[in-house]
Amino acid sequence: MDARSITRRNFIRMSAIGAGCLTIAGCWSSVSSHRYILTNEEAETLDAIADQIIPPDDFSGGREAGVTNFIDRQLSGVYSEHIPMYRACLKGINETGIEVYGKPFGGMDFDTQLEYLRAIESGRYNDGDWDGFTPSSFFNTVRNHCLQGFYGSPRHGGNKNYVSYRMMRLDYPLIIGRNVH
């Protein structure tokens, strides 16, 4: 194919081959319940945190968008150094939650979770023993990872069905209406 003769149709076809899954069926197999690193209990706690970082409204929150799946996958790869922190702090957040609020994080109502997370972010529990990890640092890391999982490409296991793109009214796949040929 000559470089000058790229038509919009050809381009989308090329992109589809490249992306592997721009079609509808089977596209989101990456967002599955299969886990690499996190236990069910850890994943449930992380789901609840993800829904606080990005709360559901008429668009999915972090949980439904697959943020936990995203983080789990990265922990098995590029974020493997963070495994000990996630292990310790997902346990710590529940233990401190039980001490202070009488419930593990996932068992609290939404507003209590919010209040608790704000306190963690502000450093109020930094004296606590979360196996040597600083609760406010953990919060900062998990917040960043949640935003990556929600706003990044679905190829990494989050942003299910491009929910954040749809929320921001960014069309997908790219190129529609853009091709001038």
Partner: protein, 551 residues
């Protein structure tokens, strides 16, 4: 099997190296062009923001990888930390065929005449290593022109009253503004600024056998799916290879430059794709590995005659590391200003690049490239929610109501911002890694405050309902605009090369990348690096054709 001796080795296939390889090969020299990375492919990277060149928490698709590459970063308190390419403190550029020119935003600026005479224009600044370039804008002008026509630039500098003189127009017409840029263009005129379309190394019309730009939103930080962006990988490097004189040797990590008993360069040592030590000999070597890696290679190439590394007799290699003190302002608008016509940046003003009263230097100001969703999640006015409902609502409501104006403040060079090699940390192959330390001078921050205020003024004039400035921190600059570490000059005691990029005292060793920059301009540097690639090569070829073998 031993590699066949060649006339020239070029190390690094980015803006400077790609050009040098082509010029030397076309002139008839046999060339090996070394690139440590692989070819980057749009279809492989696709539209993945998290591994792009703008935001890379999950790694840098355009290289290098985290498994074999790391550096030592030194903070303001002197604490050392090992950093990987996907950490901003690594100051990554790229590692693939074409290097940064594959995924760049492709602004194609010529530096202004004053950028080459920074010290003469502004005088000495305390704590700095301020100097003029040994060449003038007029020396480089024909080579800027060559870069523009050879590689391809769309623009119209005649609309910019501050543009330096030129003999020929750009080869392609400028891009049309999207909604945001059109709004900013009108606002600039209203307040007496002089807006014009940004020159771009990107096809506004078919050029060089490649199609015109399709105005995608994800351009800066990504490869182009239709090859409308002009990098060395789709322009000069294919030409070089086609001559039959140039071999592009990818996935090959050069780690040492060899010298003989008289101190001349004889070739390079490198690790091939399978980590085997290899040797390539040549009559001359051109290093274009980026300001960090060029300096590291020189410092790691020690011998009896060069005990402190190549070109380093006066402890100049690696010093004067510069990037840009990026600054600007963000604005929010009542109405939507976003129309999804990429890549975004297209309107600029040159009013504040130089001659700002009481200020050293300045910057051009331009509207920003489109912010991708994850990057935008970090764009908030001070005091905004960093998560939760407020954060999500902001993302949803303001993504299409946001505009940003930014500028690359030309830094005052200082000798303490530098690349060294670590005494303790070695890379995957056992070679000492780069150690980056330093700071910006107060003068740079002062200039940035001035420029940010102008950006703010521009956004208010455009009708923004809220505006906030961003001022850079005092940490060392580098990253994708890294420069200055082997600067050119007439005095060997204060520079590394002469005005032709020839290392003082080593006639067959040349530099052809941003390392040569004495100061880094009030503009994105890539076209200047390309022009220097032509400038240095032109000198080599002329000498070669006169029989000079630099021995």
């Amino acid at each position: 099997m031993a590699n066949k001796h060649v006339n020239a080795i070029v190390i690094g296939s980015g803006a400077g190296g790609g050009v040098a390889a082509k010029e030397l090969a076309v002139a008839g020299l046999s060339v090996v062009l070394f690139e440590r990375g692989d070819w980057a492919r749009y279809d492989e990277h696709n539209n993945d923001e998290l591994t792009s060149q703008r935001t890379f928490p999950l790694g840098c698709y355009f290289g290098p990888d985290n498994d074999r590459y790391w550096r030592v970063a030194v903070d303001g308190q002197g604490n050392e930390r090992i950093v990987y390419p996907n950490d901003w403190s690594y100051h990554n550029n790229a590692a693939c065929v074409g290097s940064g020119t594959v995924s760049y935003g492709a602004m194609a600026w010529r530096f202004m005449e004053e950028c080459f005479r920074f010290k003469t224009t502004y005088g000495h600044v305390e704590g700095s290593s301020m100097a003029d370039w040994p060449i003038s804008y007029h020396d480089l002008e024909p080579y800027y022109e060559k870069a523009e026509w050879d590689i391809g630039v769309a623009g119209d500098d005649y609309q910019n009253p501050f543009a330096p003189p030129r003999r020929k127009p750009h080869p392609m017409p400028p891009f049309k503004h999207n909604r945001e840029a059109a709004m900013l263009e009108a606002a600039a005129r209203k307040i007496g600024f002089h807006p014009f379309p940004i020159p771009m190394l990107r096809n506004s019309v078919p050029y060089g056998g490649r199609p015109a730009c399709i105005r995608m939103r994800n351009c800066v930080g990504f490869a182009c799916p239709v090859d409308a962006k002009c990098g060395t990988q789709n322009t000069v490097i294919p030409v070089a290879v086609k001559t039959g004189n140039c071999e592009l040797r990818i996935k090959s990590q050069v780690y040492g430059i060899m010298t003989n008993g008289s101190g001349k360069v004889t070739g390079v040592e490198y690790f091939d794709e399978r980590d085997r030590r290899q040797v390539q000999t040549a009559d001359l070597v051109v290093v274009a590995a980026s300001a960090t890696e060029t300096a590291r290679l020189f410092l790691n190439s020690k011998s009896d005659l060069h005990p402190d590394g190549l070109g380093n007799r006066y402890d100049q290699v690696g010093r004067n590391l510069q990037g840009h003190a990026y600054c600007g302002a963000d604005g929010l608008f009542e109405e939507e200003v976003y129309d999804d016509v990429g890549p975004g940046a297209s309107v600029a003003v040159g009013d504040f690049a130089h001659h700002n009263p009481g200020i050293v230097g300045g910057a051009m100001l331009a509207n920003e490239f489109i912010r991708m969703p994850y990057l935008f999640s970090g764009v908030r006015p001070p005091g905004s929610a960093g998560w939760g409902k407020g954060h999500k609502d902001f993302q949803r409501h303001n993504f299409k109501r946001h505009a940003s104006v930014r500028g690359p403040v030309q830094e005052v060079p200082n000798p303490e911002s530098r690349v060294q090699v670590s005494e303790t940390v070695k890379d995957y192959w056992g070679i000492p890694v780069a150690r980056i330390s330093g700071f910006k001078l107060d003068e740079d921050i002062k200039t940035a405050r001035f420029i940010s205020a102008k950006a703010e003024e521009w956004l208010w004039a455009a009708g923004a309902k809220q505006v906030w400035q961003s001022i850079p921190g005092t940490g060392v600059s580098g990253s994708q605009h890294q420069s200055g570490t082997c600067r050119m000059g007439d005095d060997p005691q204060t520079s590394v090369t002469n005005k032709y990029g020839q290392v003082h005292g080593i006639d067959n060793l040349f530099v052809a990348d941003g390392s040569l920059h004495v100061t880094n301009g009030a503009f994105n540097p890539v076209l200047t690096i390309m022009a220097l690639g032509y400038w240095v090569s032109d000198y080599i070829v002329k000498e070669w054709n006169h029989g000079n073998r630099f021995g």
